[in-house]
Symmetry: C2
Subunit: 368 residues, 2 copies
């Protein structure tokens, strides 16, 4: 149910079409995060109309609220939230380790206390896959342990071995023909461990491969070094997904290294604090110099917010904590991210990626 | 700049067209509240597209944030918030008495401390009118003192005398030809004082008349008694505005008594706590029985929310404090209010107001 056809490549970067249960997604693509079955502040149709055709939802959050029963009753997340595109779900592993009060990790799985009501919950590969299939996810992530940073080689090795074992059990747990399962490469910042992790995953065999354990505190140099080593070794005929990354610069650098898919809360979360992306760099709306500024966020931007509102009005909404401010800022940042991805895709297709990247860097950090 | 043409009347109720600086508004009308130059959670165009052609903005809030200078720079509230319809502003008086730490009331005006930064601020009829004119309001309210409830006759009389004096000074302060000034009837729940207040206002002469000092703690019987006495005595060829009212029932009862215009935070504020209006009565989304309820808020409602989302999803958004929940609930309640006003207008025009009101009451309080 997953087809991945490369249209063009330039250096290590590729533009491709991902066909997913009848849906066509152009890559490299960004997947907005809809943690609780809503991309915060947006309707599903607004996100779709920006041009995003796939979003990420969080298994951990959805298993706790509203619970699998209610989502199943709706026939899956798509209909629950009225989303016309595709959905990728994470495995829940990352949030278990970052958000929950852990009780016990064993080779079998993880016991933790729900951060909502303190109830004892168990999650293992089998349950994670079952949940994701019940949710109707178009792409399902294997259950893994996100190796923390920094991790010495021994710790990182032990962690990746656990993730490999859980990857195998995740695959064995798949029950639906239409499910597409991605494996997750761990190994911290150790090249040989990343190689070992990939090699183990290839033996199991997945529909796509993800790079996990990044964006957890490492420097951008370390992250780019991991990508330099591993991205081009990942199967070229399968989608490559860099989990939880990132800023516009992070994404550009990863596309140059051969990555196809991204998800991150940055555009939406930053929007809600008035941290706005423009072709000239970042505009921090809370800066007092915008108090009486009549211009739009970005004069070169055609989003609804820039076409209709002044920085002064948007700053006023932020100051007054008005809901409309959260919406208008989110619209702008998501539009920016979509334009960025489209620019990357088009320039790969037109063999002008180098020019695009040069222009991208040259236009950053201007006076806004 | 204000024309008011009655199209039909039935009993004391009237349907009319209010022409306001080029804008046509059908009455009886409800004016959503946009306190800080935004109807909370909505874009201006969404509110307009529901069919609302006039909203209320708060002088008190806007004078403090963002301040008159910034709104003037945009050419008024309309352009500041991108609103295509008309705007009525209150005088700021009500909020001075309810929200600010008062320092001193004199016959001249009011000194108070800003609830935002504690700064000392002065407001009097002249400044209130100047602010409202700078804001570009299509309807300007006189500066008044909202008589508290309960108030004995002596207190209420003294208060209405002050409001009359301030009404005269408000009129004297009008500087723009296109400004339309409304006087405000005070007098508490005392019929003779309401009569005295109206009589004093008529001597001064205004473009429209409002009933103030209600919805401040009195019972609905007391409120309806005030309306029974005063509404039909207000000039029949001028709009009659009942300030700060109310629930659907309150509005129906006031229309029956001859009122044309309403504003209230109820539909928007209640939406944000999951308190939703339907043709069958109120639905409280936080009731656990809606957790797995697949039906829309109201099967007979054609709003965007009811066409696209289940009660179960909306309850989930409310539980998770998701911004989208605030939006979708607000859409529903505003749509309901617009339908209610349209139903009242149409039934007056078609001489079937009694049927409409009977159906309205018969359909309330059903099992939802």
């Amino acid at each position: 149910m997953l087809e991945f056809n490369i249209k063009n490549s330039q250096g290590k970067a590729r533009s491709a079409t991902l066909k997913l249960n009848g849906n066509h997604i152009d890559t490299p693509c960004f997947m907005p995060v809809g943690t609780a079955a809503t991309v915060k502040a947006m309707t599903a149709s607004e996100v779709y109309d920006f041009g995003f055709k796939i979003i990420l939802a969080n298994t951990f959050h959805l298993m706790l609220r509203p619970g699998v029963e209610i989502i199943s009753k709706h026939g899956g997340i798509h209909r629950f939230m009225n989303w016309a595109g595709s959905i990728i779900t994470d495995s829940g592993g990352y949030q278990v380790f970052s958000l929950a009060k852990l009780r016990k990790i064993t080779a079998e799985g993880v016991y933790f206390n729900s951060p909502i009501d303190g109830e004892k919950v168990f999650l293992d590969p089998k349950k994670s896959i079952w949940l994701q299939e019940q949710f109707g996810a178009d792409i399902i992530m294997q259950f893994d342990e996100c190796t923390p940073y920094p991790a010495d080689k021994g710790t990182a090795d032990k962690s990746l071995e656990l993730s490999l074992e859980w990857g195998k059990r995740s695959k064995d747990s798949i029950a639906k023909d239409e499910s597409n399962l991605f494996g997750i490469i761990q190994g911290g910042v150790h090249d040989d461990l990343r190689d070992k992790s990939l090699s183990g995953l290839l033996e199991i065999g997945f529909d796509g491969y993800a790079i996990g354990g990044l964006s957890v505190g490492e420097t951008s140099e370390e992250r780019n070094a991991v990508l330099d080593n591993i991205a081009h070794k990942m199967p070229s005929n399968k989608p490559r997904y860099l989990m939880g990354v990132g800023t516009p610069v992070d994404i550009v650098e990863a596309v140059l290294r051969g990555v196809d898919m991204f998800d991150c809360v940055i555009p939406t979360r930053n929007a809600r604090t008035g941290f706005l992306y423009t072709k000239k760099g970042v505009l921090k709306l809370r800066n007092s110099k915008y108090k009486g500024d009549m211009s739009p966020i970005d004069e070169d931007c055609s989003c609804y917010t820039c076409l209709n509102y002044s920085r002064s009005y948007l700053r006023h909404l932020d100051t007054c904590k008005e809901i409309l401010g959260l919406r208008l800022n989110t619209i702008h940042n998501l539009y920016y991210y979509h334009e960025l991805m489209k620019g990357l895709r088009d320039s790969i297709s037109l063999d002008r990626l180098e020019d695009f990247v040069r222009e991208f860097y040259n236009s950053q950090n201007q006076e806004i």
